[in-house]
Symmetry: C2
């Protein structure tokens, strides 16, 4: 960034601009463990006008712009590879409108999903996408995040109705519709969802809200091995029980949770299943069917969390599993995979993964949203242990090759960022060229979050 650019930013943004080293540091990393890169400056945007003006200055002075909010991305999306400006929208927290009768809310991108949930709970509504971290809705849309609720309610893609997006050329466009469905022209909304800030900056979102289920229970079923647990997950889906959540954690994950949270869950591969129903009687029927399925599939027990407090404790444990696993080996670096396969292939890809991990003598933990066919393998090793990291990367490559052969995807919910760029050609073939064309169309000078998603843009 040139001195002229910096003084132009200062003239426009005054105290909203920071070049304090600690601030630059905080905007140079996410939760991926990838190498930090400092931006040259940070602007704390408070309005759409701030975003538009920052982009205008970027255009004039040709510096890169990387959007930033909660800082919880897992694939290096927020790292300003080429320096430039980190555009922090975490202060854009306006709740523009909540429409309980229309099951929707319109918010600015810095609002986090727990904040939205606290806001709408009194109306008997909730927002179902829960990636775990205290993530912002703008960031969640930008990576098409999901979480435990996706098996029942879909991902961000399914829960964003309308966006306002600031484009690199100065336009602000509204894409999508507040209506539940539309067939009025090309769908531009889905271009910006999952684009990781490389095509435009989201300045407002209208999202869907859902009625809070009235009768809910969570089941905890430990299994003798991961493969049996995965096969049971497939049976639960096939039985049309339509669970609210269907999660798998392995023994190591439960050990980490026990250490981290002081819990005493059996340290076995475990399915955590949540069922809900509008009536108590219906819930009991579903519960009894699900319990039977789990026992038939080899569950060692079927624990139940019936009260709201019990369930909250259980899902908090699940949401903290990633951090608990990282905390178990504080001097290690962690790498999380994120593949997703068609459900019928889930047991096979899990067995393949275990075999690969064992053959290479690696240390890895598995946890995932198995009702969607999505799971994460957390590899870890000392940062300087190049031999082990080479083996990890080789296993990762083989896992992805196998996933793609089964019709799956290299990323179910974390996005591409830096680490998965190398898989995109393999996954998309010639469609990748069309992605490049779209990037050129919307950001011809490559100023929007350069180096992310596309290997060469």
């Amino acid at each position: 960034m040139t001195p002229e650019a910096l003084s132009a930013l200062h003239a426009r943004f005054g105290e909203q601009l920071s070049t304090v080293p600690a601030v630059l540091d905080a905007h140079g990393r996410d939760e991926s463990g990838l190498e930090h890169v400092r931006p040259h400056a940070v602007v704390f945007a408070l309005s759409e006008a701030d975003v538009v003006d920052a982009l205008a200055l970027a255009r004039t002075h040709q510096f890169a712009v990387v959007p930033f909010a909660a800082g919880s991305s897992l694939e290096g999306q927020l790292i300003p590879l080429r320096g430039g400006l980190s555009l922090d929208v975490s202060g854009m927290k306006k709740v523009v409108e909540v429409q309980p009768g229309g099951f929707q809310a319109t918010v600015e991108p810095g609002v986090t999903y727990p904040e939205l949930n606290r806001l709408v709970r009194a109306q008997g509504l909730f927002f179902p996408v829960d990636p775990g971290a205290e993530a912002s809705l703008g960031g969640m849309a930008s990576t098409n995040a999901s979480g435990t609720g996706a098996v029942r309610y879909g991902t961000m893609r399914d829960n964003v109705l309308e966006l306002r997006v600031a484009l690199m050329d100065g336009r602000v466009i509204r894409v999508g519709s507040r209506a539940r469905k539309t067939s009025a022209g090309y769908d531009l909304k889905h271009l910006f969802i999952g684009a990781e800030g490389t095509l435009g900056i989201i300045t407002q979102l209208t999202v869907r809200l859902w009625p809070l289920p009235s009768h809910v229970v969570a089941l905890r079923c430990p299994f003798p091995d991961v493969e049996a647990a995965a096969a049971c997950a497939v049976s639960v889906m096939a039985a049309a029980l339509q669970p609210e959540r269907l999660e798998l954690m392995d023994a190591e994950g439960l050990r980490a949770v026990n250490v981290h949270k002081g819990t005493s869950f059996p340290e076995r591969p475990t399915l955590w299943i949540e069922l809900a129903s509008p009536s108590a009687a219906a819930l009991e029927e579903a519960l009894s069917l699900c319990r039977e399925l789990c026992l038939d599939a080899g569950a060692l027990e079927v624990g139940m969390a019936r009260t709201a407090a019990e369930r909250a404790a259980l899902w908090e444990a699940r949401h903290h599993a990633f951090y608990a696993l990282k905390a178990l080996y504080p001097d290690h670096t962690t790498l999380s995979t994120d593949l997703c396969v068609p459900l019928q292939h889930l047991p096979a890809i899990i067995a393949f993964t275990r075999a690969q991990v064992d053959a290479e003598g690696l240390h890895a933990s598995l946890l995932g949203h198995v009702g969607d066919g999505n799971f994460h393998v957390l590899f870890h090793a000392r940062p300087d242990d190049t031999t082990v990291w080479a083996r990890i990367e080789a296993v990762y490559d083989r896992m992805i090759a196998q996933t793609l052969a089964l019709g799956g995807t290299c990323s179910g919910e974390h996005g591409v960022g830096l680490h998965k760029r190398r898989f995109l050609a393999q996954e998309h073939g010639e469609a990748l060229d069309l992605m490049r064309d779209l990037k050129m169309l919307l950001d011809p000078h490559g100023l929007l979050n350069p180096g992310k998603i596309l290997p060469d843009c």
Copy 2:
């Protein structure tokens, strides 16, 4: 089309090519009632290679290509405005794969949704998008069609996992993923869904299948007026009953159905609601809550269709309502609107519409998928009655202006075609320019279904 182009087509396609007048006629219209325009030739494609080769010849000889399958579009999408080639993919009927365990099927674009349903029923599965006509899945994806099932299962957009698309430049790309969710790069799939064949030709689809609900009942609730019925629909949605279907038909619609099908439904504005549950007990609870809601909202009675045969008869009647209404006035032309608003605005927009129709002394019937905030007004008049048609168009314009002011869309499910092009600038503002840019990127010579969606492309 030049004689050279025609002989090149003949050399490649032989008996798959037709220039027989009756065949050209049949490919010059859809169900919109818009003016027929004959293509110069029809190719009956039987494979992806046929589609690719037809596009290659179009590129060489610069003729227009309009995809055609079931011919059931309602907005003139299939009309070859500038002549050229009608590319009939209705013979591409291969079922590539059905994966019951993965809840998905891969088919060619000529397969219709009733054909798919007959195929997967034995596995306890179904495909929920039901636009009414015997529509093809390729055409349904191209207009983002929906129908009565959308309130519970979403539209084509929500039920297409993966597409193969032949592009104008000769490439065939695979977009989307067979995994239930993906965050791996820009979403190209949604560009082609709803693009009405203007960006590429769909040659294969992988769609989601759903478990057939085990316990189902349909309710029939006549109301004293349309406004009360619409308000009740909003209450049913707010009560989180998650109906399988939630339809409104007005008195005229029921009269048409009675005449057409020999039924004797009360000729009153009526809600048709379908509820389903995994258990009989749960269904009874939902039923009793729904019944109470309807009676509180002023329902004159609550009829029930409990057996599969009764329900089939009821939904067949609903699906035939459009044709029944057309048949009521055989010498009239029909125009159907298709607006969709956020649910909380449904009663207001229906009241507005009725007031407009009455003020202009028009004849119109209202029916719709009100659980989604989507409804159709069927206007009709003698084709040569220019005074009445001018009034109809004026009311239509005012309905759309009001819809857009309420955050709605000019098309919930029929697409844009020819008739709604004039509303797009109003609905999308500057985003329309980006749609034009996308069209230029994928079809620089304007050969793919020219004149559709975008007013000037």
